[in-house]
């Protein structure tokens, strides 16, 4: 009746129980507060069922902040474990729990922090920048958001019921096969990503069509703001990369549920095929995240340098070059798997080639700043932080693109430091910059500048402390995901732990900044154009007019898809059928109503 689900799924070890109870506690507090302030109706009408892209954007960003807190707690647990694990002290986490923590950290940060943060900013700004009232398919937009929420809910649910994958963030087989991961952890992983992935794909199509067909009449392609261009590029990548993820995870789940042999160790399965396929999606995914961040900086740098962007055409060409090249570099994630020199050399060279358009962008920003009257407001500070860390990450990336060097550094902390350079220093700093930059437009009041500056300095200092030691440790030979560490690595791990604490302080300042700014919102009105931006979004009021259009169907689809996902994880087949048929029924019923929006 309930598949694999029974009471034992709720019983965990002591540390896991703390996590379990904090999730339950968090939900109870939120529900309690909403009920106490009688805010349910308001929330339902104004946000949850809204079809307005800006409202959906705000919800995306709220989701990503919640998940950022969760992912950061995972990071702090890992840093603490490695910092205190010395001599007789084996740390505070069990090995299996530690493996779940680093898996959850990676999955959450990529799929449920970076992706929703990106889609949040896109929803907020792209329609405004191209002068469109909304996106091409407002209902699908709402549905995409709710499917993303379902993924995030499933991941957090794994803390309460059952467990999460202990396989690393890409769940390589054969470890992720049923034989070696018999629990439901990998199934949580698969279905959270599958459901959120469908939402992402639909969003990708939605924004591609929006940008292609809904621009103001006189905004030709070469008059689009660079942010719109980079989003356009990222959406192309979403559309053509995410089906590969869906397919690959589908094959893995067939292996696990139905005893197929795609990636198993026996009967002809090939685990290497999984690695190949998942990175054919995985590399474009990296550029899906970074391209919009490039676009954000291309908005911020001219505004705060008080000049026009240098080299608009080259920015566009570079963006499109990245879109093409990002599909032909994926082997650099597995040089060590043993392909011949020709394959490795080709993909190594392509990887180095992709640094060229990226370099073009960096130089364009620098030339934009050159002889500008630069205002060092928080968005610009984030850009300066990005520039330094991202160029360092890019340089180490080109280093890793050399197969010979990669053989030495593969799976070491050097790699971990490299991609955190790209994803924190590149993606996250970019999105923070965009958040600070566009916040006044969406909410109509300014964010507290002083606290923003504090937050920035904590982040950048913490980042250097936390990740530069990892480069050194990697070169010393320390591999990633280690539970027990040899003593000579210990001092630098303590430094990295301190760095994590400084980042935590930065996050505290960000929360404080939000609270204080909301508190003092009357004193700090934004006006329509607080930064003297030149693009269309600054021509409208702050906050811009919201569209009252709403629909309950998005939430309905989300709930039913969530039931379906949960049922698939626990193999409760009747519930899975109900969920799937329910989703279909909602969509079919919708087609019979008269709509202005599809």
């Amino acid at each position: 009746m309930l598949g694999k689900l029974d009471l034992s799924a709720f019983i965990h070890g002591p540390i896991e129980t703390v996590a379990q109870l904090s999730v339950v506690f968090g939900v109870v507090v939120v529900v309690g507060l909403l009920s106490y302030y009688k805010a349910w109706g308001w929330l339902w009408r104004e946000y949850l069922t809204s079809l307005d892209a800006k409202k959906i954007g705000i919800m995306y960003i709220a989701l990503s902040f919640v998940m950022l807190a969760r992912g950061a707690v995972d990071a702090f647990m890992m840093r603490t474990q490695q910092a205190i694990e010395v001599g007789a002290n084996s740390g505070f986490l069990s090995p299996d729990h530690y493996a779940q923590v680093f898996t959850a950290h990676g999955v959450i940060m990529i799929f449920f922090v970076a992706m929703p943060f990106m889609f949040g900013l896109i929803n907020l700004i792209v329609p405004l920048q191209i002068g469109a009232k909304d996106v091409a398919y407002p209902f699908l937009n709402s549905m995409s958001f709710w499917l993303t929420v379902v993924g995030a809910v499933l991941i957090n649910l794994s803390l309460v019921v059952g467990e999460f994958a202990a396989t690393g963030w890409l769940a390589y087989p054969p470890l992720s096969e049923l034989q070696f991961s018999p629990g439901v952890g990998v199934d949580y992983y698969i279905w959270a990503l599958q459901i959120a992935g469908v939402g992402t794909l639909i969003s990708g199509i939605n924004f591609l069509v929006t940008i292609t067909t809904m621009r103001l009449k006189d905004m030709s392609w070469m008059k689009m703001p660079i942010f719109v261009w980079t989003v356009f590029g990222a959406m192309i990548l979403v559309i053509f990369a995410f089906p590969i993820l869906t397919g690959t995870l589908g094959l893995l789940s067939l292996d696990r549920i139905a005893g197929f042999h795609f990636f198993t160790t026996d009967l002809g399965g090939s685990a290497m095929m999984y690695v190949n396929l998942i990175w054919a999606w995985g590399h474009p995914e990296v550029y899906i995240l970074i391209l919009p961040a490039f676009g954000i900086f291309s908005e911020i740098v001219p505004t705060f340098s008080q000049k026009r962007l240098f080299g608009y055409t080259s920015m566009v060409v570079a963006t499109l070059a990245i879109v093409f090249l990002s599909f032909i570099v994926w082997v650099h994630h597995f040089f060590t798997m043993g392909a011949g020199a020709d394959v490795n050399a080709f993909f190594g060279i392509m990887t180095m080639a992709i640094a060229i358009p990226t370099g073009v962008k960096v130089f364009n920003w620098l030339f934009t700043m050159f002889r500008g009257r630069i205002l060092f407001k928080t968005p610009m500070l984030w850009f300066m932080g990005f520039l330094t860390t991202f160029v360092l990450g890019g340089a180490t990336g080109v280093l890793l693109a050399v197969p010979g060097a990669d053989f030495q550094l593969h799976n070491s902390l050097f790699l971990v430091a490299h991609f955190h350079n790209m994803i924190i220093g590149g993606v996250l700093f970019g999105f923070f910059a965009g958040f600070v930059y566009w916040f006044p437009k969406i909410f109509g009041f300014m964010l507290n500048e002083r606290l923003g500056v504090y937050a920035f300095w904590c982040w950048i200092v913490g980042f250097v402390l936390a990740f530069i030691p990892l480069y050194i440790l990697g070169l010393m030979g320390m591999t990633r995901r280690l539970y027990e560490v040899s003593p000579q690595f210990h001092p630098l791990l303590v430094v990295a732990g301190v760095g994590a604490a400084v980042i935590a302080l930065g996050m505290f300042f960000q929360v404080l900044q939000l609270v204080v700014s909301i508190w003092q919102r009357k004193e700090n009105p934004a006006g329509d154009n607080p930064w003297n931006g030149t693009h269309l979004e600054w021509q409208t009021s702050s906050p811009p007019p919201f569209d009252p259009e709403r629909s309950n169907d998005g939430v309905m689809v989300g709930i039913l898809a969530g039931l379906f996902g949960f049922a698939m994880i626990w193999q409760i087949w009747w519930l899975a059928v109900i969920g799937l048929v329910g989703v279909l029924a909602v969509l079919i019923a919708r087609s019979f109503q008269h709509h202005e929006h599809s």
């Binding site: 939605n206 069509v209 809904m214 094959l251 197929f260 042999h261 095929m273 087609s591």
Partner: protein, 185 residues
């Protein structure tokens, strides 16, 4: 067609192109794993070309009839549209039925999807196509209701795009899976 309809068609076209990549991943998987029979029978021993030819002709004809349906619908011939759609539906259903028959037959012979990697990849590639056809049938049923109510809009046109697309995918399945399989490559 107004702009809104054009948007829908373009968005659907983009979805189809994205679906191409899903099939590309499955074709690639099949291509890599097709030799991994692990001692079991290979494609040349398992598949019956006459059967596949029949399936192909059925699907091809259905692609033609769905095209007729869109034309009749543009000419506002409600009855003819419904007849063409019903024909398409029956053809599609027969195709799925044949595929189910083939699958159950293979499983009964002990050549089910969990027998080896070759069969896993065969079942998933062909089965994914079959699942798309099945989804298309459900959708076709809904579109027929819309035709009866006179609220079809461009729903029939997007459905026909989907159906033609599935026919094109099938060209590559019968070529690379069945015909190449019979060549015993």
């Amino acid at each position: 067609m107004n702009t809104h309809n054009n948007n829908t068609t373009f968005g659907f076209w983009v979805y189809l192109m994205s679906d191409c990549v899903l099939f590309a991943a499955l074709f690639a998987t099949y291509a890599v794993l097709q030799t991994q029979t692990f001692g079991g029978p290979g494609a040349s021993e398992l598949f019956d070309l006459n059967f596949v030819l029949t399936e192909t002709l059925i699907l091809l004809t259905s692609s033609f009839t769905v095209g007729l349906a869109t034309i009749f619908s543009l000419e506002h011939k409600k009855r003819a549209t419904l007849v063409a759609l019903a024909t398409t539906f029956i053809l599609g259903l027969s195709f799925v039925g044949m595929e189910v028959f083939e699958f159950t037959h293979l499983i009964a012979e002990g050549s089910g999807p969990s027998a080896n990697a070759f069969l896993s990849s065969f079942f998933v590639l062909v089965g994914t196509h079959g699942a798309h056809v099945t989804a298309g049938l459900i959708w076709m049923f809904v579109v027929m209701l819309h035709v009866m109510r006179g609220s079809v809009g461009n729903k029939l046109y997007t459905l026909s795009l989907f159906w033609h697309f599935l026919d094109i995918v099938w060209i590559f399945i019968f070529t690379f899976v069945y015909l190449f399989g019979a060549l015993a490559l």
